[in-house]
Symmetry: C2
Subunit: 310 residues, 2 copies
Amino acid sequence: MTQPDVGRIDGLTYPRGVAYMAGQFLPMSEARISVLDWGLLHSDVTYDTVHVWDGKFFRLDLHIERFRRSLAKLRLVVTHSDDALRDILVECVRRSGLRHAYVEMLCTRGVSPTFSRDPRDAINQFVAFAVPYGSVANAQQLREGLHLHLIDTVRRIPPESVDPQIKNYHWLDLVTAQFQGFDAGAETVVIKDIDGNVAEGPGFNIFAVKAGALHTPERGVLHGITRRTVIDIAGRQGIAVHTGALGEDTLRDADEIFITSTAGGVMPVTRLNGEPVRDGAPGAITRSIYRTYWEWHDDPAYTLTVEYAG
Amino acid sequence: MTQPDVGRIDGLTYPRGVAYMAGQFLPMSEARISVLDWGLLHSDVTYDTVHVWDGKFFRLDLHIERFRRSLAKLRLVVTHSDDALRDILVECVRRSGLRHAYVEMLCTRGVSPTFSRDPRDAINQFVAFAVPYGSVANAQQLREGLHLHLIDTVRRIPPESVDPQIKNYHWLDLVTAQFQGFDAGAETVVIKDIDGNVAEGPGFNIFAVKAGALHTPERGVLHGITRRTVIDIAGRQGIAVHTGALGEDTLRDADEIFITSTAGGVMPVTRLNGEPVRDGAPGAITRSIYRTYWEWHDDPAYTLTVEYAG
């Protein structure tokens, strides 16, 4: 794949990578779903994402477990066994040659041959792909900290409407907040839940550090695998973790703030709505957790090594 | 298109019809978007649907106006003029040969060539398609009335999260309710809003008739074009219409119930959670509005005739 990957129909350029769908491995430009798929037309789809760093999957077992739980809740069926699923993801990465990859598995409700409106008539579609690793924060932001805005004009879709533990693509609240944040000079944003507490950002959880303890929302947010990894690390390091409602005041008064995502790991936040967080530099606890997070990427207990060709 | 329309990659059967995307008219099996399109991966997309009945579009101008408003709110750009947009939709129908068609126009955020997470980097994608007309209610249900269940375990995504006047694909609340309704023997379902009032169903608005007046929810629901047409018809017929919070009690005590959708028009409901609505037959006001609704489909003031080939 030294040539650019260009779409046959649309002439657009696609990222490097390999997808799997309908029993075939395909370049990214050819990995396409029907516009009649309810995954598009009703966002009737669930997914999970895992990353590969330095040729190794990180905590893939947890991602596959969560994907299975999401599928079950939506009554979606992926017929591959967990082993087969893992092998498909590994093969996407292996064929892509990517040493640092963002790997996604998803299952849509699919297309009904008659365009029937009954979701039971649709044929569920499993898709997986590996593309180059991407991060919420770029290299400078990882070093110096992100500029985050807490946006108060849109609220995260509540769990009474959509169970956030079903990893889902209902992001218009987050996208709306992103555009408002960009207008205000933010690099990224976090929004509140319907009760007015801090919830989450586009694809990440948030932690506040206060008096040496971590505080992170529990209800109405996805329980991210990176969030869980941070909680695991805090346990090893003897750092207390409070999961529960996170008020705006706690965030604004935090000693440190960081965000967590499979797309970027542990990422420091050093400005909140334009104001520096304490001295405006990544804090000691954030840096300590960051270091351990990446050290674990070399630990066979948490990783699966890809055997690349050649 | 006498041969079945079978997908090249997936071997699945697709409905008859014609799509437009990337400057080309395509059979439905070939109308595919990238799995990297944020329209799929973040449901970052808006749409509108209009129907063609007996070779004529119904109130197409209103649908295009609403689509433009939705696009503007999401900062999505469709470069076609309204006239060009209309011509594309007409051409999809003309090429399909369908005299009764369900016609959808949509615009996704699109793909970023680098898979950047910044929505401003993506190239918006416009897609349109015409497939055979489908209805929420089949012929028997239109005659005898639908069996509807009010589902109380999931609440419609509130306007504080997603503006319902942006026609959107965030349907997991509705899909979840559909499956629960099917388990309970429902043909279709309606759900409540976050405050506990009756909201809407999967793709339709709801009306209760009480003492000769119509009652329909106003806040937290899409203001459907068929809903608006019913309000217009009621105005002509001297029927009062109350738009505002619709309590469960009002629905359970209604003289008549009907639902409205571009996919089916005005559809009577004759059972609610297993209990007959009054005598269990479509009511007089529902039938009167139904008749006028279909009469308007022959009125040049509301229609645009498709010039089919041959």
